[in-house]
């Protein structure tokens, strides 16, 4: 399509995605406790508050802990599952795979309600491990998708050659498969980590205010009084996400990680 049309389309999408964040960043530097845009001056005091007020940094630490362990669980489910599906023919592996992909085919509120019901039945509602496990299972879809793409791109002749030369299954995995899928594994981990960090409804329904995560805290502030700290935290979140994905794009080939095929 014509260059003009392409530029207009790109500009529209970029403006749509960035406009709310520009306002958030602008509001976050207001020197007074107001939500003006354009800001009435420039100050970073609300960023300071985000790091010094325990009401804000405790939920942030909670969120980081949850996201780290949830992403590890997601990867620990996705790696063996995608590997078995690629390497062996096991009937029920496809059923397990379907369960791993299904959460994204369900309205999120239903996943959250399921988590709430499960942890009430198991009598652990409100305990921190509940949100970690529920996030881990919910976000397995992401490393599962990246690893499936990675294994599809792996040249089977490489594996065959290694086996002809006497390598066992374990050796093939250690020396060929794992090094090859490592960037896909890392990307899947980062996706799951960032999405867990930002996830609201499951966290709200599993731990709520007893182990407050940052999105739950922001939502509470959204209902009971806005503050420029919310804008500062939101701007930081976006900056962290951009930095992490840009890093993934630096060390890995982002188009390929996202499913473009293997051409130069």
């Amino acid at each position: 399509m014509s260059r003009w049309l392409r530029r207009a389309m790109f500009a529209l999408v970029v403006a749509y995605l960035l406009a709310p964040l520009v306002v958030v960043a602008g509001v976050s530097v207001n020197p007074r406790q107001v939500l003006f845009f354009p800001p009435e001056g420039f100050s970073l005091r609300w960023y300071g508050t985000a790091f010094t007020d325990p009401g804000w940094y405790r939920p942030a630490i909670n969120s980081l802990l949850v996201a780290t362990f949830a992403a590890l669980i997601a990867v620990s489910i996705a790696l063996p599952l995608s590997y078995v599906l690629w390497r062996y023919r096991v009937g029920y592996a496809r059923v397990v795979m379907a369960m791993g992909l299904a959460p994204f085919a369900l309205p999120p509120v239903i996943t959250a309600l399921g988590a709430l019901a499960l942890w009430i039945v198991l009598q652990s509602y409100g305990r921190p491990h509940t949100v970690v496990l529920s996030h881990g299972a919910f976000l397995t879809t992401l490393p599962l998708a990246t690893l499936t793409v990675g294994l599809q791109n792996l040249n089977p002749q490489l594996v065959e050659a290694a086996r002809t030369m006497g390598a066992t299954g374990g050796t093939v995995f250690r020396t060929i498969v794992f090094p090859y899928v490592r960037p896909y594994l890392l990307a899947g981990f980062v996706f799951a980590f960032v999405l867990s960090l930002n996830e609201y409804i499951i966290a709200y329904m599993t731990v709520g205010f007893t182990f407050e995560t940052l999105p739950v805290k922001i939502f509470a502030s959204l209902r009971y009084g806005y503050s420029p700290v919310m804008a500062a935290i939101s701007a930081l979140f976006f900056a962290v996400a951009v930095a992490l994905f840009a890093l993934v794009g630096r060390v890995g080939d982002l188009p390929r990680l996202l499913g473009a095929d293997e051409r130069a």
Binding site: V13, F36, P107, V121
Partner: protein
């Protein structure tokens, strides 16, 4: 990330078969246990809960009653269901109208040029719904919103507040759905043969005609699958309608969460969730079927016959 409908992995193992021993089962043990417990069992509990009886002192007691479903299907909740579906369909349509041409044009660019856009899309996708709702409420507010910009440009007399309201809900829905749609379309569009639109051009089609008559028909399955994915995602969103909507835009997730958390009525929340699940699956199946059927043909100027 590819859509859940992506084709399944093809076993690359030349000697896959029965002689694998216990290894595949050992490796599958943890994924099977974890996903059964954390995904399948919760769905089963919700399905059962819909028939349980709520008790005032605790959460619920085991029973078989149908009053929860009777309430979930009363006039009020059916109207909420209709509103939820219509809003989600509208958001899905707008999202596809933006995402399809954008993703197509993006995948025609050199790989290195795509990376900044992909980073922006990924970062937007990961943004918490809570932050999205907050950002749009600022953007549409009187004190910090775009209406100030329009006043400064002389296009409006006075700054106005457009949040909460229908426009705010739809704008934010499209904002959360757009990155998901782009990433879901991306693999298929990337693998599209570059020569196809070029061939259409050689035969006299304008770029737009080539896109509509050659590219879109090839992509219709991917577009429909993405539409279904986006529809379900938007239909299940809670924070956006709750924060940016008036009661007229409060969708099923708002009422499900309200019953589950505020009113402590889990059986009603569960029956509402099952109704929502059934309806969302039906609509998604219809969307995917539309993609498998014939794409409506357009007679465009410049198309070689």
């Amino acid at each position: 990330m590819s859509a859940p409908t992506a084709r399944p992995a093809i076993s690359a193992s030349p000697d896959a078969g029965s002689g694998d021993g216990p290894w595949p089962h050992v490796l599958l043990a943890w994924p099977t246990v974890a996903l059964t417990l954390l995904f399948l069992v919760p769905l089963g509990i919700i399905a059962a809960l819909g028939f349980f009886r709520r008790i005032q002192a605790g959460f619920f007691e085991v029973a078989f009653v149908t009053d929860n479903y009777a309430r979930a299907l009363d006039a009020f909740h059916l109207e909420r269901l209709a509103v939820s579906v219509v809003l989600a369909l509208a958001a899905t349509l707008v999202t596809l109208l933006l995402a399809v041409p954008f993703t197509y044009l993006l995948t025609r660019r050199p790989r290195a040029r795509q990376v900044p856009y992909l980073v922006l899309v990924l970062a937007s996708l990961s943004l918490s719904e809570v932050i999205v709702a907050f950002a749009w409420s600022l953007l549409l507010s009187r004190t910090s919103g775009i209406s100030n910009l329009l006043v400064a440009l002389g296009l409006m007399d006075r700054a106005a507040s457009w949040s909460p309201g229908l426009a705010a809900v739809l704008l934010a829905y499209v904002f959360i759905a757009l990155p998901l749609a782009v990433l879901s379309l991306y693999p298929t569009f990337s693998r599209l043969d570059q020569e196809l639109p070029e061939a259409a051009g050689t035969m006299g089609a304008t770029p737009l005609a080539g896109f509509v008559t050659v590219v879109l028909p090839l992509m219709r399955r991917a577009v429909a699958a993405t539409g279904a994915l986006v529809f379900i995602f938007v239909l299940g969103a809670y924070v956006i309608p709750q924060t940016l909507g008036r009661p007229a835009q409060w969708t099923m997730p708002v009422h499900i969460t309200d019953q589950a958390i505020m009113k402590n009525h889990l059986p009603l929340a569960a029956s509402l969730a099952i109704v929502l699940l059934v309806v969302s699956s039906l609509v998604a199946v219809v969307i995917v079927a539309l993609g498998a059927g014939r794409w409506p043909r357009f007679a465009l100027p410049g198309r070689a016959r």
